[in-house]
Amino acid sequence: MEGSGLADVVRMSRALADEMVEHCLQERPNEACGILAASNGDITKVFRMTNATRSPVRYALDPQEQFAAYKKLEESGWDLGGVFHSHTRTEAYPSPTDVRLASEDVPYVIVSLASDPPSIRAFRILKESLIDADGRIEEATVVVEEGEGDGPPDG
């Protein structure tokens, strides 16, 4: 039953995609991470967060920042639209560690800095239970809208 009925498309503006990639580039050589807010299926905001492990091969959202960001989602009436992190030297595909530690029923967006330009892919990692070490990987579609014009509102 898990995963059914949830959108498997991550749709975001070019500006937001660039913001996410920029955060990943800035954090190199360590992995970068954060969350994506969504409203009606569209990503509305990138929350850049601290990688609490400060590692080139691991990431963990800083729990206090995560709590604050989730609170902000709720106050704004947004959904959690995805979790993102970077792979600095490997492809944009979930590592065994990503699968083992996966905990959210939302797309995991991976930004690979191994290619230029960086590639962005997204996956859901489906588990029967949060405590399972194994999960099924399903790719989600990432749509970056190139549209010009007004762009996202300030703030």
Binding site: C33, R58, A60, L61, P63, Q66, L101, S103, E104, L130
Partner: protein
């Protein structure tokens, strides 16, 4: 008045998709026991075999991580909000 426990999406399969549970005041351990009685199966998602919180669960009393309070013995009073959050990590 009661205690409000906020349930993350990953656990809502145990709660018939309810996002909030209203429980009686007590310690965090008491609240986990109340959750398990109401939503069988959820307790194993929260507590490891040593009856401590799984390390991939963060629990907040209002705005504070209970790991920096009294952990499972942290007292929760009427009107408080407890939030359960999965820790988000990978490699």
């Amino acid at each position: 008045m009661s205690v409000e426990v906020r349930i993350p999406t990953v656990f809502r399969r145990f709660t018939n998709q309810e996002a909030v549970a209203s429980l009686e005041p007590g310690t965090i351990a008491d609240l986990v026991a109340q959750l398990e009685r109401r939503y069988p199966g959820i307790g194993d998602q929260l507590l490891a075999e040593d009856r401590q919180l799984h390390r991939f669960i963060n629990v907040y009393l209002n705005d504070e991580d209970i790991r920096y309070l009294n952990k499972l013995e942290t007292q929760v009073s009427e009107g408080d909000t407890v939030s359960l959050l999965p820790s988000v990590a990978g490699g």
